[in-house]
């Protein structure tokens, strides 16, 4: 459909500005009712960064407790609750929503669309995530007097293994908040997943065939498919746990014939695709940053695409490598060992493609590139330690030690977080109009990079020295004390780097260099429009002719393949937009109107959650809010004509 049949749609800038959401684009209420993907993206980003600080604080509490042997900074009970919330927060309230922030900000711009397919559903995703995050953290206040250290947060680990999560072993409401909170967050992820698949498959600009899409869009597509198939599995597991805890069902009750192992199977059947849900978006970001700063196309684009797709499929066949020690038998263990080794192949392909992209490029060492290279280095170490886990006998030794903790922080912090920061430095100018300071950015990078390695490489050593995970303290004289002290020092260094980042953002927002449309001399469509982009994104829907279309509008090649600039304006797509070609008939760009209904509908979920825990009447209230919100939403016209 794309291509020949659609001619570029033209309106004048003046028309567009006049007719777009007139008078409704300022003030706090315009943010609360917004359905604009860019604003939703910014709200996702800010909320997830807030939770990043919360989760980081929890990490520091853990590290202070472990800094020296026989420490009693936290009680065992507090420690269990803090590490549970740290893991849950970082996975579900930081990396996933921060990736969603990038999906929102970038996907419509990269494919040349004016918004996502379902703008109100998009707002619904955000608010549901927002309420889910708050709901989950409310649990802290349910344990009595929080000022006396009585916290009520869940205490069964982010993986929530049955039977630890059953009433008998985890009384109180902590786990109830956890499971209902995750359920709410799952709804947000599902809605987002559906929305981005439809957007990417259906809303691409003319000429933007699948294999002309930027790599980040591809990774969003794969991640979204993983989301819509993985979230229902964890939803069922959480429902089963909910029925066990709240209504005395027996899913995980061994006394009645249930098997707690069912939880592990379902959790990891969700959990391993989830691992790729966390890392693929960061891989997408890195795949955009490297070509821009190497001034070369991504090496082997189709291989990187197919590797990403292959990872998506294979991620469904490796879950039991989390369960080697549960007694599945040698046949199952061997099969999952082999599949786990196989999944390293597409991942390895990507790493080599990234390095080959840098090879021979005229590299411009800017902060985004620092973080991307940091990603490749740290993620490779994380990946290789992962390979050591895939070997069953080796894993028997590593199971439940700090080596595992070091491994998954190496991929999720060294990988996902470094990738996300690379994206923040890269696209900050696009969405704020100002550059982040390079000097502070590089200080941030080096502090974080060194701090990261001082925190997590000692954990590798600790794991090999036999230190178990999840212990509140340890005796002196095991050779663990020095490495733990070092890890704690590194953690504070990471914290310092985050303060540098916050300072950089605040200063740069006010005094940063004005970015202009294309500060990095980049390759993708979002750099063809003003920074920050206007609400309607593209005054003229772009016509795409090639992969990295924008680059080819700026450069041609000489005989040796070196880029040669094309004279400015000769083929700039934006240049066409500014003069009316005579086809204008006064119709502006109709964007969807702001709406409060997604917010109202999603406010039903935390009410239902509180009702399930405390009082059934509140369930009815919450359900009524949800249903009324949905009905008003359906009845409200999406666009003011």
């Amino acid at each position: 459909m794309a291509g020949a049949t659609l001619t570029p749609k033209r309106v004048t800038m003046a028309d567009a500005v006049r007719e777009t959401r007139a008078g409704s684009y300022n003030g706090i209420w315009s943010w609360i009712s917004t359905v604009d993907h860019k604003r939703i993206g910014i709200m996702y980003g800010l909320t997830s960064f807030f939770f990043f600080l919360v989760g980081g604080l929890e990490a520091l509490l853990i590290r202070v407790q472990l800094a020296r042997p026989e420490n009693s900074f936290l009680s065992p009970d507090q420690y269990n609750r803090i590490f549970t919330m740290h893991g849950t927060t970082m996975v579900f309230l930081v990396v996933m929503p921060m990736s969603a922030a990038f999906f929102n900000l970038l996907v419509p711009l990269m494919i040349g669309a004016r918004d996502v397919a379902f703008p109100r559903l998009n707002a619904f995703s955000f608010w549901t995530f927002f309420f889910g995050g708050i709901f989950m953290n409310l649990s802290f206040f349910t344990g009595g007097n929080i000022l006396h250290g009585d916290i009520g947060a869940p205490d069964a680990g982010w993986f929530g293994y049955a039977p630890l999560t059953l009433n008998k072993f985890s009384p109180g409401n902590g786990v109830n908040y956890w499971l209902i909170g995750l359920q709410i967050l799952g709804i947000a992820s599902l809605a987002g997943g559906f929305n981005f698949i439809v957007t990417i498959l259906n809303m691409r600009a003319p000429g933007m065939s699948l294999f002309r899409m930027p790599l980040f869009v591809w990774m969003t597509l794969v991640t979204s498919f993983l989301l819509i198939f993985a979230m229902p599995v964890i939803a069922v597991a959480l429902f089963e746990l909910m029925f066990d805890r709240l209504f005395d069902a027996n899913f995980f009750n061994a006394a009645k014939g249930g098997t707690p192992l069912l939880w592990q199977h379902m959790f990891w059947l969700f959990g391993h695709p989830e691992v790729y849900i966390l890392i693929l978006p960061a891989m997408g970001i890195v795949s955009e940053v490297l070509p821009t700063f190497s001034r070369k196309p991504l090496f082997g684009y189709p291989f990187v695409v197919f590797s990403g797709v292959a990872i998506g499929f294979m991620s469904w066949g490796v879950w039991a490598h989390h369960m080697y020690t549960t007694g599945l038998g040698s046949v199952a263990n061997s099969a999952f060992g082999v599949s786990t080794i196989l999944i390293t192949i597409p991942t390895g392909v990507k790493i080599f493609n990234w390095m080959a992209t840098l090879w021979g490029g005229s590299i411009s060492f800017k902060t985004p590139l620092y973080f991307s290279i940091g990603f490749i280095a740290m993620f490779t170490i994380g990946g290789l330690t992962g390979v050591t886990h895939s070997i069953v006998p080796s894993d028997y030794q590593q199971q439940d030690t700090y080596y595992v903790v070091a491994h998954f922080h190496q991929v999720l912090f060294g990988g996902a977080i470094f990738g996300l920061f690379s994206g923040i430095y890269y696209w900050f100018p696009k969405f704020t109009g100002r550059m982040l300071s390079e000097a502070w950015g590089k200080l941030h990078f080096w502090l974080m990079f060194i701090g990261f390695n001082l925190t997590f490489q000692p954990m590798m050593v600790l794991g090999l020295l036999g230190m178990p995970r999840r212990i509140v303290t340890y005796p002196d004289g095991y050779g663990w004390s020095f490495w733990n002290a070092l890890a704690t020092f590194g953690a504070f260094m990471i914290a310092a780097s985050i303060l540098v980042f916050i300072y950089n953002v605040i200063v740069s927002l006010r005094k940063g260099e004005i970015a202009g449309e294309d500060p990095w001399d980049a390759r993708t469509l979002e750099w063809t429009i003003p920074s920050p982009p206007p609400p309607y994104n593209f005054a003229v829907v772009p016509q795409v002719h090639a992969l990295d279309d924008f680059w080819h509008r700026k450069y041609t090649e000489d005989a040796e393949g070196r880029p040669v600039p094309i004279p400015a304006g000769a083929s700039d797509p934006v240049a066409v937009a500014d003069h009316d070609d005579g086809h204008g008939d006064g119709h502006g760009i109709h964007l969807p109107s702001p709406s409060y209904m997604p917010l109202i509908a999603s406010a039903g979920f935390p009410l239902i959650g509180l009702g399930l825990i405390y009082d059934a009447a509140l369930v009815a209230v919450g359900a009524a809010v949800l249903v009324v919100g949905l009905y008003l939403w359906v009845l409200e016209p999406p666009t003011e004509a």
Partner: protein
């Protein structure tokens, strides 16, 4: 055409040629397969693992459930007729078939309510044994889906009096229909795996 631009939820040409909402519904149903698949797997895993009775063979009334299953299957026929009617612009017939579909759905739900009550009277609850736990949760979630379907059918029926359902917007009926047929198909799987394939 050149100017009515990109209000994203209106009927514009899409890259795949599928309407956005229709693609969304298909994706949603794909996701639902994993949802029911997980519950059905849990049921099958725990089959024959109840330590105490009552057991399925003590409770299942196959002729009764066969009738209510037949009723639900017939509701898919009336759903098809409702869609065919609106696609021809026959609003009156569409309303009749929508009501018929809702009615058949409600009969099925009534049958489920009767069955749940009967099992409860025989001593089966969520906590009695593995059968009670897995049976009530699986079929309960299916019943909840049928209930949502009936609500959507009734909403469509009501909306048709406000002029919101027309031949041009027959997609609304088609989407509800897709959902309704899916819920039916899930029941076929549940009925076969849980009622007909009897535990030893």
């Amino acid at each position: 055409m050149a100017h009515a631009v990109a209000a994203p939820t209106t009927h514009l040409e899409t890259n795949t040629g599928l309407d956005n909402r229709k693609l969304l519904m298909w994706l949603f149903l794909g996701s639902e397969c994993l949802f029911f698949g997980s519950f059905i797997s849990a049921y099958l895993l725990y089959r024959n693992r109840s330590i105490t009775g009552p057991y399925p063979k003590d409770l299942f009334d196959i002729p009764f459930t066969s009738v209510s299953s037949f009723v639900l299957l017939m509701s898919s026929v009336s759903m098809v007729l409702a869609l065919a009617a609106i696609q021809k612009g026959d609003l009156r017939r569409m309303r009749i078939w929508l009501l018929a579909t809702s009615f058949l759905g409600l009969v099925f739900l009534g049958g489920q309510a009767y069955e749940f009550t009967a099992f409860y009277r025989e001593g089966l609850t969520l906590k009695t044994n593995m059968f009670g736990t897995t049976f009530f949760v699986l079929t309960g979630f299916h019943g909840a889906h049928v209930t949502v379907g009936v609500l959507m059918l009734m909403s469509m029926w009501a909306a048709s009096f406000k002029g919101k359902i027309t031949q041009e917007s027959s997609l609304n009926i088609e989407l509800v229909g897709l959902y309704w047929h899916f819920v039916d198909i899930v029941w076929i799987v549940i009925f076969t795996m849980i009622y007909l394939v009897q535990p030893s």
